[in-house]
């Protein structure tokens, strides 16, 4: 039995685990218990293969837990159909991945609009939201450009705009600056953090302890176990096993 979530808790995990089938089965995440509140900025750190991405995938409903209880906005995820999970994912989450995953045949604006298509918005509103989001990441002037004609940093900013345009309650970022240089990384990071003021929770997986230390709350993952705080990584400069750009 789990306690009912507090009203401000967007995400609540109680004893959540994910075991991948195999011989023997691989427990990638065990007994994760924590919650994320609106407007909160949370970093997830850990070595490569520790279970960080598994945790992020579970949080964003890209994968489902095999154990425990996970609630999104009070709704128990395990009892939802695939269609309901998809709808909840679209309504609640915005994703920024290490790669921008922009469609090369679509312009920056069309890529941002792509994230809004499942919402059944009118074309005008979709366009307006996309232009606003591109403005927020400083790319209004590049909205008609194809990804092939933009830099890596600009592409990543388009990916952030795509996530922001969805007006998510939670922004899930998996190494969002992993492919970028230091200066661009800090610009992108700044954009992501600024969303805190708009009551959007930001959950960010990172290897960069420099970035991690700037975040108000950290979770560390080690061998599939999640614990509050930086733990053993507190004094590290960077965590080993960062994905190469």
């Amino acid at each position: 039995m789990s306690a009912a979530p507090a009203p401000s808790e967007l995400l609540t995990l109680t004893g959540v685990g994910r075991t991948y089938p195999g011989s023997p089965p691989v427990p990638a995440l065990r007994d994760a218990t924590f919650s994320v509140q609106g407007g909160e900025v949370l970093g997830i750190i850990g070595r490569s293969g520790s279970g960080k991405s598994t945790l992020l995938n579970l949080l964003g409903l890209l994968d489902l837990p095999t154990d425990g209880d996970y609630r999104v906005g009070g709704e128990r995820v395990g009892s939802l159909s695939d269609r309901e999970q998809t709808a909840l994912r679209a309504r609640f989450f915005g994703f920024v991945f290490q790669q921008s995953f922009l469609l090369p045949s679509l312009s920056a604006q069309e890529n941002v609009e792509l994230g809004l298509r499942p919402r059944r918005l009118a074309a005008g509103e979709r366009r307006e939201r996309a232009i606003d989001a591109l403005g927020a990441v400083g790319l209004s002037h590049r909205r008609r450009f194809l990804p092939g004609h933009m830099s890596g940093g600009e592409c990543q900013r388009v990916a952030i705009a795509r996530a922001l345009a969805q007006r998510p309650r939670v922004l899930l970022c998996d190494e969002p600056t992993g492919n970028l240089d230091e200066r661009t990384s800090s610009e992108v990071l700044q954009m992501l953090i600024e969303n805190q003021a708009q009551d959007v929770a930001v959950v960010m997986v990172t290897h960069d302890m420099g970035i991690a230390r700037t975040l108000p709350r950290l979770l560390s993952v080690r061998d599939g176990l999640v614990s509050e705080g930086a733990g053993e990584f507190l004094d590290a400069e960077a965590l080993p096993g960062a994905n190469p750009p």
């Binding site: 890209l62 994968d63 998809t86 709808a87 994703f95 995953f101 045949s105 298509r117 499942p118 919402r119």
Partner: protein, 388 residues
């Protein structure tokens, strides 16, 4: 409804923005629908031309088979029937068994050749539409006066080394010396006779006696063949008409439909093969495209596209490509039909319903071919796709 419209717009965008992929995907359908349209058009055109040709020749010819007692006097009775234009008696001497033939009047000539011998009365030569390349035909008088003459088919003449009937060359057939008075180059019917020797009835009896069953060829006016076929046996053998059988050409209308039916079978086989190629082409390219677009599909799933929407997008794209291929293929098929028919001096005939329906056939092929890749795409989980 808005979901479908949005899906259609996305499919059109994808088709337009990936011209190479679209072209590769559409090639099979263009070929398939083009072949389908062209085959249909050519079948219609050819059927028209073929049946017209059959109407002229086959539909005005009746062939009777009877006993060896049938004579030219019997055939003369048949020729008097209203609707008969020509009638002649003929038979295969020794049942078409090749007989020894040598060139020259003496048996010490060059080595023997074995050739078939056909007996034809002078009216039969007219009835089968024989045409001479040299010399002359024998006439009724020659037969009545027991002249030992013969005609050679062009193939037989060439085999015997006789280039023309000039100088009345002699041949021996089973020991009988015959004067070659003409070489027959073509015949509308009984063309197998051109492979051998053609002789008057009297000569045939000298060579092989009077044992072989007779045939009578009757040419009729258009539309009279059925009636002549019905009444002919009684005229040829009033005492035992059942001994005479008639081979009547099919009714022109029936013939036309038979020609169309047999060509339709060809059409169906070719069309199905073509559509099969189109199906495989779209299916293969779409499966490949889905594999290449895994991260795109993963991203779409992550931002909220459901499995159904992903499947619909893939099917709509395949249907769009199918339609494009269908329109192009139909246009090419119509042009090819017009060009080939004109080249053959046929009247180009196209089924307009088919021309309208053909592009939708491309759509149907696209939908069917896109279904399996769509199901595969819908099964891709966002996590697996984004990780790849």
């Amino acid at each position: 409804m808005s979901g479908l419209r949005s899906g259609l717009l996305e499919a059109v965008t994808s088709i337009v923005r990936h011209p190479v992929r679209t072209l590769l995907c559409a090639v099979g359908t263009v070929v398939a629908v083009g072949a389908f349209t062209a085959t249909n058009g050519l079948t219609e055109s050819a059927s028209n031309a073929v049946s017209a040709s059959f109407n002229e020749l086959r539909a005005t010819t009746v062939e009777f088979q009877g006993p060896s007692s049938l004579s030219e006097a019997d055939v003369a009775r048949l020729a008097r029937l209203r609707g008969v234009t020509h009638a002649g008696l003929l038979w295969d001497v020794e049942q078409q068994q090749p007989l020894p033939v040598t060139v020259g009047a003496t048996s010490s000539g060059p080595s023997q050749t074995r050739l078939s011998v056909t007996a034809m009365s002078p009216p039969a030569l007219t009835a089968v539409g024989a045409v001479l390349s040299s010399g002359r035909f024998y006439d009724t008088g020659a037969d009545m006066h027991h002249q030992m003459v013969a005609l050679l088919g062009s193939a037989a003449a060439s085999q015997l080394g006789i280039n023309s009937a000039l100088g009345d060359p002699a041949i021996q057939v089973s020991g009988a010396v015959l004067t070659v008075i003409g070489v027959v180059s073509t015949a509308q019917q009984e063309s197998q006779a051109l492979l051998g020797v053609i002789v008057p009835p009297y000569v045939a009896q000298v060579i092989a006696g009077n044992r072989d069953p007779r045939r009578v060829i009757a040419r009729t006016t258009p539309g009279a063949a059925q009636l002549i076929g019905h009444e002919g046996p009684a005229e040829l053998d009033p005492d035992q008409p059942r001994q005479v059988t008639a081979e009547v050409p099919p009714n022109p209308a029936t013939l036309r439909s038979q020609v169309q039916a047999s060509l339709s079978t060809l059409l169906t086989v070719l069309s199905l093969a073509g559509l099969g190629i189109g199906f495989l082409s779209i299916a293969a390219v779409t499966i490949m495209s889905v594999a290449q677009r895994r991260s795109e599909i993963g991203l779409r799933r992550a931002v909220g596209y459901g499995r159904l929407e992903i499947a619909r997008l893939i099917v709509l794209e395949a249907a769009g490509v199918g339609m494009l291929g269908g329109i192009l293929g139909t246009s090419i098929g119509v042009l090819a039909t017009a060009a080939i028919a004109s080249g053959n001096h046929w009247t180009p005939v196209m089924n307009t319903t088919l021309v309208i329906v053909a592009p939708f056939l491309g759509v149907a092929v696209g939908v069917l071919a896109g279904s399996y890749p769509a199901i595969r795409a819908a099964r891709i989980t966002p996590m697996a796709a984004l990780r790849s």
